[in-house]
Symmetry: none
Subunit: 416 residues, 2 copies
């Protein structure tokens, strides 16, 4: 079965707000095993709405409409949809009394005449009570197809969807869709795809798709089946094959797990603490680690040293190193990592020093040259990177590479 979303609202066309409803509904539909081929946004204009609704109903089984259910004249999603589906509107007494209740409950002064517009319902529609606003949700069925109308504000739309629309759709869906996300670091999207092209081409169930992230790459394996157990059985051999090909480049197969979570969990499991000694990343690395709930067991402190003097004073980097090799060098990265671990009293320390630009680059030492040091229990590893992009992107990539370096060092140490 196919689902399609049309979001109605001039505020989306003007870019005043971002369409989080579409993401929420798309995710929900994917989870229900509904295929989605189209999403669109249209303004509060009768002609364009008519054309869009008609087209969507002709090509999709389930049409989800959001927004345009308010009390003003501009709001005409319901009116246009009823017209397209050949229904007339009537005053629904149940909805009317709910609107009256809502005004009393929320202490609003006066119901204006246009509020009754929200109690008008298309013939034969299923009315969904809205506990957080005055516009009821509506389902209009037509043979195998249906249109679902939901109010635009997320705090009204989300509860209406989870409590009433989701059970309704589940009862209409025959198949289950289930997917796993295999997340890689250290292999670009294009190389990853080449490495598994045979798998991608050979598979129709499950399907395999790659997604590029900043210095990461995700591979989604999606199966259709009659139930979750069956879906898992279809997915398992593919995931095992991905492990054979990518090995430790895979940092997780949990969709909601981030690289920093993996690192924090590895640290916790080994009862280790980490600190950071950052130059060009300026605290971004520490902040990624601390964004993990419960990071306080593994991260106690972090240092940003953005000039030579502070690298010497706070981290004990020898002046000779800075003079001889400059601040952006393997030697200084190593000294920062060792000194940072000492200054922070931690078992591990990640250091980052590089040229983030836009200025400061030369031909031999271009913008994007970054050294990352990883001190762990007396051993230090330093890597050189040549990153590309603007200042922000270079810093973001450096953070991911640093996290990944620590992850690999921790895994290696566990294996010893």
């Amino acid at each position: 079965m196919t689902a399609e979303i049309i979001s109605v609202g001039t505020e989306l066309l003007l870019g005043n707000i971002v369409n989080t409803n579409a993401q929420y509904l798309a995710q929900k539909c994917a989870g229900l095993g509904l295929s989605m081929y189209y999403q669109s946004v249209v303004g509060d204009n009768e002609e364009r709405m008519t054309e869009s609704f008609r087209q969507a109903l002709s090509r999709s089984d389930i049409l989800i409409l959001t927004g345009g259910l308010g009390p003003t004249e501009d709001d005409m999603t319901k009116e246009v949809c009823a017209k397209v589906m050949g229904r007339t509107l009537y005053l629904d007494e149940h909805s009317k009394s709910r609107i009256e209740d809502y005004f009393v409950r929320t202490g609003r002064k006066q119901i204006t005449e246009n509020n009754w517009k929200q109690a008008m319902v298309p013939e034969g529609a299923i009315v969904l009570d809205n506990h957080n606003g005055t516009a009821p949700g509506l389902i209009i069925e037509q043979g195998e197809k249906c249109a679902i109308l939901l109010p635009g504000p997320p705090n009204e739309l989300i509860p209406l969807f989870t409590e009433q629309v989701e059970p309704y759709l589940r009862s209409r869906c025959p198949e289950t869709i289930y997917s796993e996300m295999v997340k890689l670091c250290g292999v670009g999207e294009s190389r990853a795809e080449t490495m598994i092209k045979d798998l991608i081409d050979a598979q129709t169930n499950p399907t395999i798709a790659t997604y590029a992230k900043t210095a990461e790459c995700d591979i989604r394996v999606t199966a259709r089946a009659n139930n979750e157990t069956e879906a898992e059985e279809i997915i398992r051999p593919v995931v095992e094959e991905l492990y054979r090909r990518f090995g430790h480049n895979i940092f997780t197969i949990r969709e909601d797990e981030t690289l920093e979570q993996v690192v924090v969990n590895l640290l916790k499991r080994n009862c280790l603490t980490v600190t950071t000694a950052e130059s060009c990343t300026g605290g971004l690395l520490a902040s990624r680690l601390i964004n993990v709930p419960g990071a306080s067991f593994a991260v106690k402190s972090a240092f940003v040293t953005y000039c030579d003097e502070e690298k010497m004073r706070l981290l004990g980097v020898p002046k000779e190193f800075l003079d001889k090799y400059t601040a952006v060098s393997a030697e200084v990265a190593e000294a920062m990592a060792v000194g940072g671990a000492k200054a922070g009293g931690a078992n591990a320390c990640l250091s980052v020093t590089g040229i983030a630009g836009p200025d400061g680059g030369t031909k031999e030492r271009p913008v994007g040259l970054v050294y990352i040091g990883c001190y762990l229990n007396g051993k230090t590893v330093v890597r050189e990177y040549r990153l590309r992009g603007n200042r922000e992107k270079i810093r973001e990539q450096a953070v991911v590479q640093a996290l990944d370096l620590l992850r690999r060092c921790l895994i290696e140490q566990e294996g010893e």
Copy 2:
């Protein structure tokens, strides 16, 4: 002239990501005076892409396509668009050498065969160099109409748009549309709108629109005129009126200027240095400051102290304060700010301590309770905030509030 956006990507249809590109482009188009009636999302499917592109080109003057320009077989926005517009593809040597250069500069090991796919260009297309990735942007003109193809990652799309597409579109628009962005901090969008509702309602040229950002609010004033000077004259009195109403809540009227840039410039102008002493923000504040090019004149070091012991050891926060008031208190925020300035040898220090959640909140001290301290030349100010949202959102808001607090302290001191 009308513009339409089609975002290509299964990840949007599956709800893996939210379509921030559509919002960005819609806002930009509105700023250029282009009318937008439709936005849509379509997956990586040749037939459906063909149908959607054809429909969009028939009803709109400017079609902006995002995504689907990657090196993999799934990526076929360019191929389908070229076919719909009757163009063949050729290997563009310039783009090819840029891709080679990108691989060398980013130190990637090997270019795989599929990377050359990104150097294929439709006949007669304008090639837009992408400095942050391998997919060039493209403009394909056809009579009065045109299709603009941009890569999906925002850090590639945004610079391509501002540096190359925006000037191009401006040259095609008959009227001059000129807009100024008045950026506020410390006033919510809904209050800001109420404060200027009379101006919004009364004006048709210039128009006034508000945009909510994380703990910030932008007001865009847009004028239509025959030339830039005329447009500026139309806008000036409105901006002056906004200054009368919002005063120091306005931190800039330069569209490309960020709050952290304003703060770094104020510090530089007064020959002052700043450090940070961060708990729940974990380095995010320092990292925002250091993201300003040339920040090294004002930021030398920063401290993250994520546990009581490190607050005492590195910042000299008295143990009694932590015992008596807890780490999340005005007293500790003040001690962190004073101690941080001393430890970092800086003229100013911003401290942040709070409950970012998801755990650790109580009824009296809920998640979102944050104290920010600002030490500046011997004087310390502390503010309490009650922020809403998830862990990440709370930390982001805390960073903005901290930057804004320092900005206000610096302005006040300049006035003395």
